[in-house]
Subunit: 222 residues, 2 copies
């Protein structure tokens, strides 16, 4: 078993993150790399969703993952064991990643031929939404047990995301979760948001999400 | 139905939050008020736990709640409808509260005779742990669906907390959650942490937690 590469990120000194993010997005587009910034609360199932997507991609994409965490290397280890190139990024207590930190991670991952690079951001619904990482796609996961009111309480996250994945739908019978209410709140933040319902655990809905992502990534890389 | 009081917090200009927090803690002790800082991920069940505790306190404590959120006033409304004095604090996008913001909230709540004031912090496992609010008790909620590995990933939160409440234990049968593993991780962060298992939904375990809190608050206020 290969040891996981752990990268201690340096806090960036750049003042204009928005411009830096825009530069990174264009650089990546030039190289045919689509960066996806995956955000959610702690424990929504970011890593499990990526594992389920890996099975559903079924070799259709060359892709790698950057796992950002304050501590521990379990997520990068898990992805690597599933055959997905991965690096673990340690943020040194920072609650989010900006474009410069993302660039450090991409360099460490060293996948010049990737079509898709996923940044699994720090589990946090607040701060990551405030910093453009240079991603072409921003995707958030809301798990059923968290409740249908999250878009009302953390509006910026939903405003910034192109894709909302509702995970753990196998647990719908044991929780009060009103899909319509949730969708109404989410579309109030962002009328264009695309919503997918999945269970990373049972695999339900994952193929539909995987197909949509493959299509988006191929279109971006063209 | 009384309208909820909404307070827009001003960002503090004080540089030394630790000293300010210590001052606030001593001021409150002088008044016989115990401040409890309640932290967790979004959707762990902070408000539901407070509602369940209110029933279990059964009038044994004079208490009030400050509900901090980036947006919306639903939580303060909910508490007020249950007969608990409450104010809604809007953080203006800030991901945490510091001691000065907490003081603004306490002033707005206006309960000089309270024995317990609960600050329901912004749903976030990262930033709130970094700022001492002046609380006598720091309490965090981990809900079963979030997974047993959270203390390994967000160690500072568990290091700073006196009490860990594991919520949604009624959902244990549908999730892989290893209590021993979770406790081992949590005690590695803080060997003294007190752990309670509850279901705010069914009420299981809430009486034991309520009794422990009443005892701690009365001891603090004496």
């Amino acid at each position: 078993m290969d040891k996981v590469k752990i990268v201690a990120l340096k806090e960036s000194v750049l003042e204009d993150n928005d411009r830096d993010a825009q530069n990174l997005r264009e650089e990546l587009r030039g190289k045919g790399i689509c960066l996806l910034n995956l955000m959610s609360s702690p424990g929504s199932g970011k890593t499990s969703t990526l594992l389920a997507l890996n099975r559903a991609f079924d070799g259709r994409l060359r892709w790698g993952v950057m796992e950002a965490d304050i501590d521990s290397a379990v997520d990068a280890q898990t992805m690597q064991e599933a055959g997905v190139p991965a690096v673990q990024l340690h943020t040194g207590g920072m609650c989010h990643l900006d474009a410069d930190m993302t660039r450090q991670g991409i360099r460490a991952l060293g996948m010049e031929d990737a079509e898709l690079i996923v940044l699994e951001n720090v589990g946090n619904l607040v701060c990551p939404a405030e910093f453009d990482t240079g991603a072409a796609i921003n995707m958030t996961i809301l798990s059923v047990p968290e409740g249908d009111d999250k878009p009302a309480k953390y509006p910026l996250m939903y405003e910034k995301c192109n894709i909302l994945v509702v995970n753990k739908i196998d647990a719908l019978p044991v929780f009060d979760f009103d899909r319509e209410r949730m969708e109404r709140y989410a579309r109030k933040c962002n009328p264009e948001i695309e919503i997918f319902y999945i269970s990373a655990k049972t695999g339900e809905g994952v193929d539909v999400l995987a197909d949509a992502l493959v299509k988006k990534v191929k279109a971006w890389c063209r």
